[in-house]
């Protein structure tokens, strides 16, 4: 590795232009990119609470003391009232021999 000429850098000779980074320039850049399919592909950090999988709704009017008891139990367990109803339904199914396939 002797005959190769040494390579050394003179930093002073390097050219650099001022770079614009204002919002308008960025917007123009993004638009130019979008035209050619260079689009936003950043992983989106989920903001706030995840959507609940509990999208079903029951329409249940119950006696006031049952309502109060379900509410108190949910508060004690730190869950939604729907979870108490799901648990109750599970027990009901067990008692009556209802399975998923039914």
């Amino acid at each position: 590795m002797s005959e190769r000429k040494a390579f050394s850098i003179d930093v002073g000779g390097l050219k650099s232009r001022p770079k614009q980074s204002d919002a308008r320039t960025i917007a123009k850049t993004d638009k130019a990119g979008e035209k050619h399919g260079f689009i936003d592909r950043e992983p989106k950090a989920k903001r706030g609470r995840k959507p609940s999988p509990r999208t079903g709704q029951v329409h249940a009017k119950v006696l006031p003391q049952v309502q109060a008891q379900i509410a108190a139990e949910a508060r004690r367990r730190g869950t939604q009232q729907g979870v108490i109803i799901e648990d109750a339904w599970e027990l009901y199914c067990e008692q009556h021999g209802i399975t998923d396939e039914d």
Partner: protein
């Protein structure tokens, strides 16, 4: 100090390899080099974790859309040459990195598929030049080339030249030593010998010198 953006939406085109070769050779030649790893797959970071980082090089990891421009600005002024390595996808991050570049390098294998997809980077540069009303110097480097070139490669190169695309000479040849940089970290002087190291080192230096000439505004301005 100049910013070099290595960009191609084609995966596996040789971007990260070109970035490491360029960064280590420029640093060896005396420049301070900041390498910005914008790829969520973290190729540069993996390289830097593999062994001792050579003197004068720093690697910044996990830089995304929200902090790229700020990061470039910081290091643009601290006297180091900035090299940005990107993921092989067509993303907004790529177009932003191009907007901050003093030189865009698009590595490309001499195959039709690589050229077809790689050319999208060149089209994006042209679009940004128009949108931002300034020229953005850019060049193609062929990667993983062999001594005997295929007809396909020759055709692609001729067609790019015809269109006035600046092509960096020498191309990056296919060398076990280049792939080994990611296995051992460090540079071509510190990794255990792989094949003919002299050829690999001469090729790497030649490539870095050709880029350096462009950063001095001396060579390769494309016939625009």
């Amino acid at each position: 100090m100049p910013v070099v953006t290595i960009a191609s939406p084609k995966g596996g085109a040789g971007k990260s390899t070109a970035a490491v070769i360029l960064g280590t050779e420029l640093a060896h030649a005396g420049a301070a080099v900041t390498m910005i790893d914008c790829d969520p797959n973290r190729s540069l970071t993996l390289w830097s974790d593999q062994g001792d980082i050579p003197p004068r090089i720093q690697v910044l990891s996990d830089v995304g859309e929200s902090d790229l421009i700020k990061t470039v600005k910081q290091h643009d002024q601290d006297g180091s040459i900035v090299i940005i390595d990107l993921e092989g996808v067509a993303s907004r991050l790529v177009s932003r990195a191009i907007s901050q570049a003093d030189l865009v390098i698009t590595p490309m294998r001499g195959t039709t598929l690589d050229a077809t997809i790689g050319v999208r980077a060149l089209q994006l540069v042209a679009e940004e030049e128009e949108a931002l009303d300034r020229s953005i110097p850019h060049a193609v480097v062929f990667t993983m080339t062999r001594n005997i070139r295929s007809k396909q490669h020759n055709g692609i190169e001729a067609s790019l030249r015809e269109q006035g695309v600046d092509i960096i000479d020498p191309s990056l040849i296919e060398r076990a030593a280049f792939a080994a940089l990611f296995e051992f970290g460090g540079d071509l002087r510190t990794i255990p010998p792989q094949g003919n190291m002299e050829t690999a080192q001469a090729n790497a230096q030649g490539f870095a010198e050709a880029v350096y000439a462009r950063l001095r505004g001396e060579a390769g301005e494309s016939a625009a």
